[in-house]
Symmetry: C2
Subunit: 147 residues, 2 copies
Amino acid sequence: MTTTSPRLRALPSRLLSQAATHGDRLVSEGLARIGARKWHYAVLATLADAGPASQAEMSRRTGIYRSDMVAVLNELERDGYAHRVPDLDDHRRNVITLTTSGTARLRELDTVLAGLQRELLSPLTATQRKQLAELLTQLVDHHDSPQ
Amino acid sequence: MTTTSPRLRALPSRLLSQAATHGDRLVSEGLARIGARKWHYAVLATLADAGPASQAEMSRRTGIYRSDMVAVLNELERDGYAHRVPDLDDHRRNVITLTTSGTARLRELDTVLAGLQRELLSPLTATQRKQLAELLTQLVDHHDSPQ
DNA sequence: CTAATTTCAGTTTAACTGATATCA
DNA sequence: CTGATATCAGTTTAACTGAAATTA
């Protein structure tokens, strides 16, 4: 983009925005090539790491809006990666579970995503990548629970 | 947001996205309180730092689309912060210039923005802030001109 | 004729809100 | 009755595309 103004170039919020836009595009395009989207990964990874849950709970765990979660699960179910099963203990809920091919799909997405992250971070050394992750985690955690 | 999955939590592209979203919101809300938007700042700062230019050139310098630049300049002109003057040497162009009150407005925005950046980076030490800016600049520059 | 400029009108996508029906 | 859930329908905003009119 070749920003000309030094003040603009150095503005942290703008640097964050630009880096994030680039990362998002890289990830979106990379996942699109295998017919996936980042929300798919978020749901599959969260199911694998934190176990089955209701849609509302999945929404809280991933940050995807309850209303958008419906569409994501429709797609994952259509493709056979996740299942909705009515919760017998609480009939308002569905229990979302990972299928066997969902687990396989997650492995695939993990591999593809690892490559995309490597591409995104290619100008940085291993130490710098670790530094960046730590700094960003601090920012994000502070925002999640200031004080 | 309390992301539960370790893989999600550690994903650099997601950390970037979340930090950027938070920063953007902070900046947008902060600027809105004084009736400004980040595009206004981008244009005023670029005019001050790199001098008058045509709209197309301003678009290249700031990264704002030529089509969106029209609306931004309409607002800046309405508020008396910038002027459009027809270029006598090239009648396709307008020359955009900063007015006196535009310069004052820029000073105001600089102050407000500095406070917002401080808020955004509040969980980081001065050294960490410098580190973060350097790492992000490396990412952004590499994307602007890979190789 | 080709290319650049300003402008307008429009698309796409993500993030978000609100409301409804069902059930605890 | 209050509150949570799944779902649907819709808004808002930023990022982006396309094309027309003018001039180099």
